[in-house]
């Protein structure tokens, strides 16, 4: 068990290292931050002065070495624009991201499990068809379009929720809805498929034959067995949510690491970009590890390999 966790953490860290190396050089292919915030009339001497101050005039390899040797000690350098350590800039975005992911995943999993179970129970009947079609539709709506249209309808026309930001709980409604839309569709399909598979498998039929009530079978046995694929897919979705949610931050001005990454890319704030990538990478590794452990808890037959 411990060996397994250690192995996963090690290989995860290796991935994060690879990503950071790649990001370090990729990002620098897109030009320097000094060009961005100086007015068009700035003289080369003025630009040079700025690039010296941030060590951007040194050879790339040297910059990389400086970055690596500091990063090992947890120092990701100062943000070019924010006047605070890059790591702090990245970490301060995580609470919003994690909370949004947690809420959105809870909402989508609860809705999807209910819908998927109902669909499986009434398989091939009208209810099933309707649920399947509706969830396919929600999975086909582009998040950015849903976000725009929902702001217009719910915030501006009917004024039920704020247009943007993350101030009060109402302002979370539209972002949560936007990021949950796709996952609800996918997870409902997964739940339905898994439930059908479990229900048609031998042991449920045995249970039925032995006279267990159908509701009890559904909830006690089937759902428990169907949980693994749901957890697997939900875990993947959660990981990509931690990494992404760019649309939500762009349209709703919602805080989070996705916004920090896109902001750092556009502003060429390399230290913040690197710190964000590391923070996200570590979060995803931990998330995957947690999912693997949940596997064991849900179904002890699963072997950790």
């Amino acid at each position: 068990m411990l060996a397994f966790i250690r192995g996963r953490l090690l290989s995860g860290l290796l991935t994060v290292f690879g990503v950071v190396v790649l990001v370090f050089f990729l990002a620098r292919l897109t030009g320097s931050p000094i060009d961005l915030f100086f007015p068009e009339g700035a003289t080369p001497a003025q630009l040079d002065s700025f690039s010296r101050a941030y060590g951007l005039d040194r050879p790339l390899i040297e910059q990389f070495w400086v970055f690596l040797s500091n990063a090992v000690r947890g120092d990701f350098g100062m943000s070019v624009w924010q006047q605070r350590p890059a790591l702090q800039a990245a970490l301060s975005e995580m609470p919003a991201t994690l909370l949004l992911t947690l809420i959105a995943m809870t909402v989508s999993v609860v809705i999807a499990v209910i819908l998927g179970t109902v669909a499986a129970a009434f398989r091939f009947r009208l209810v099933d068809r309707v649920i399947t079609i509706v969830t396919l539709i929600t999975g086909s709506i582009p998040a950015f379009w849903f976000a725009l249209v929902s702001i217009l309808i719910f915030a501006i026309v009917y004024r039920l929720v704020p247009t943007s930001g993350a101030g009060n709980w109402q302002s979370w409604i539209l972002p949560v809805a936007t990021v949950s839309l796709g996952p609800i569709g996918v997870l409902t399909q997964v739940t339905r498929g898994a439930m059908i598979e479990v229900l048609s498998s031998g042991f449920v039929r045995n249970a039925r034959a032995r006279g267990f009530g159908s509701t009890r079978i559904l909830y006690r046995h089937a759902l428990r067995n169907a949980a693994l694929p749901i957890i697997a897919v939900a875990g993947d979705i959660a990981a990509s949510m931690v990494n992404g949610a760019v649309i939500v931050s762009v349209v709703f001005a919602f805080p989070g690491i996705g916004k920090a990454i896109i902001g750092a890319v556009l502003a060429r704030d390399f230290p913040v970009l690197q710190a964000c990538i590391v923070v996200v990478g570590v979060a995803v590794i931990l998330l995957n590890l947690i999912i693997d452990l949940i596997y064991v808890v849900v179904d002890p037959r699963v072997r950790l390999s």
């Binding site: 961005l36 007015p39 700035a42 003289t43 003025q46 700025f50 941030y54 924010q82 605070r84 247009t163």
Partner: protein, 517 residues
């Protein structure tokens, strides 16, 4: 043309009433407001107030400068300096305002002012560490400031600089403690009417009224700044009451209930053909470009109240602006003339149908993508061969700036240029007009001669020399092709009174806001 004439009148009215608001006494209240801005600020340090997103919050609210450009008449007026004089060619002396306190209670003295100015200079170092302020762009060559006595400041320039007092209007003054470190300040301390409360990055900045302010105490107590990238969201926040002031509103979101207010900040949309590359080496091709663009139709239809057709690169408040140019020798819309010029150039061997790129940025101005597409269609219809290239800022600058790489294709760069200083030197010398200019895509010795002569001149003569250079640039050379004067829009919430002025793009003085209910 009626619309734009009306708007000009409106702009004038706005200026007049601004003056009146200044006179009217604001009653201090306990009320707070929320301001929705388009872009989050980067830095609140006194020496980083050059970019608009920083200036919007810091200038005139947290910080004040020694001198200030009047939004009413564009003239330089005293702020933290009461008066100034040129002692000799390279030396200036400023008498400072007494009894001014910083938010932390420390006094404003010549020593603090000198520290601020020196810290903003290119190459400035503290404890051996280079600082690199964004405001250093206002000083092409480092000046040196020192305190003569408590309230007298002496500044020496490396060469003759008649507009030093104007340059100092860009040097905001923070307290001494923040000036003695190379670190940028995170909790800014200035002398302005509002003091810093908190900044949560990515979310908001909060300010509150400073009761020890040397001037008049403003009406608004607390201010919260939030950032919303979408113009329609900013407008929506006014409608829903989430914000009381929203900047950079798009023309299509404008309301006609008096809550959408306009101002001009001498910002001009310009097309700049690169005369060093084909097909624009022949001046007739560049002139044809200007004749091909139907500014009246494009600007009226696509920019709405957000723009007026324009033929120069400067706004009317800048001394290089040529009065009456539109009616006299501007290269106005005339597709037949454009075709004739192209035919003549072609006959002389110019590759007029060679493909070139029409380079723009998505964030150039609201609706710029559409304007550029319309311009492309105009150019195509006279026989030119543009390809639109919409680039992100950094890549866009590779087309804007000298040196132009050998392999770079011919281009027209779309840009939006502002000059809030009122002096053409910030636009022309070393920038868009002269041979060595950073963003110049032309080289005409006559223009250089006129601009350099103007730089050393003063008053009427200075203006006249700049205008002569500008005329060559717009007609004979046709390298800076004016398209539209931008009109900026703001939206105000119920019960909020604010008259924007030409400086509202860079400083939104909360002290100018009053409540009408």
């Amino acid at each position: 043309m009626n619309i734009s004439a009306g708007l000009k009148a409106l702009g004038l009215a706005a200026l007049l009433s601004t003056a009146m608001v200044h006179v009217a006494m604001a009653e201090p209240t306990d009320r707070g407001i929320t301001v929705a801005l388009a872009v989050e600020l980067d830095s609140l340090d006194a020496c980083d107030t050059q970019p608009a997103q920083n200036a919007n919050i810091a200038r005139g609210n947290i910080y004040e400068s020694l001198t200030h450009v009047s939004p009413v008449d564009g003239k330089l007026e005293p702020l933290l300096a009461l008066s100034w004089e040129q002692v000799d060619e390279l030396t200036w002396e400023f008498k400072l305002r007494p009894d001014v306190k910083f938010h932390d209670g420390s006094p404003f003295t010549a020593e603090v002012a000198a520290a601020n100015i020196n810290r903003s200079q290119p190459g400035a170092e503290i404890d051996g560490q280079e600082i690199a302020c964004l405001n250093l762009t206002q000083f092409p060559e480092a000046v040196k400031a020192e305190a003569v006595d408590e309230l007298t400041l002496r500044v020496t320039t490396p060469k003759v600089d008649p507009i030093l007092p104007l340059r100092l209007s860009y040097a905001d003054i923070g307290n001494l403690a923040t000036q003695q470190t190379a670190q940028k300040s995170l909790s800014p301390v200035g002398t302005g009417p509002y003091q810093f409360v908190e900044r949560i990055q990515g979310e908001h900045v909060k300010l509150t009224r400073f009761d020890g302010y040397w001037g008049e105490i403003p009406a608004v107590k607390d201010v919260t700044y939030v950032y919303r990238a979408e113009a329609s969201v900013r407008a929506g926040m006014i409608e829903t009451g989430e914000a009381q002031l929203a900047t950079a509103i798009s023309a299509q979101d404008a309301t006609d209930d008096g809550r959408t207010v306009t101002y001009k900040d001498n910002r001009i949309v310009i097309a700049r053909p690169n005369s060093f590359k084909e097909p624009f080496k022949d001046p007739r091709v560049r002139q044809a470009v200007s004749h091909a663009i139907d500014r009246d139709t494009i600007v009226t239809a696509l920019m709405g109240i957000g723009g007026n057709p324009w033929y120069q690169m400067l706004g009317p408040q800048v001394n290089g602006y040529i009065p009456g140019f539109d009616e006299t020798d501007a290269l106005r819309f005339d597709p037949e003339k454009a075709k004739e010029l192209l035919a003549a150039a072609k006959a002389d061997g110019a590759p007029v149908d060679q493909e070139f790129v029409l380079v723009t940025r998505p964030d150039l101005f609201p609706g710029s993508d559409e304007v550029v597409q319309a311009i492309a269609q105009n150019l195509q219809s006279v026989g030119l061969n543009p390809r639109i290239l919409s680039l992100e800022n950094t890549a866009w600058r590779t087309y804007l700036r000298q040196p132009f790489p050998e392999e770079q294709e011919g281009s027209i760069v779309m840009l939006s240029h502002d000059n809030t200083s009122g002096d053409a030197t910030f636009s022309f010398s070393g920038n868009y007009a002269t041979c060595e200019g950073r963003n110049s895509a032309t080289c005409n010795p006559e223009i250089d001669r006129l601009v350099f002569a103007a730089d050393a001149a003063q008053g009427e003569e200075r203006a006249s020399l700049y205008q002569q250079a500008a005329r060559i640039m717009y007609t004979q050379e046709s390298t800076m092709i004016g398209i539209a004067e931008q009109v900026r829009l703001m939206m105000l919430g119920e019960g909020i009174q604010y008259e924007p002025n030409p400086l509202s793009g860079i400083e939104i003085r909360i002290a100018d806001i009053t409540f009408s209910d």
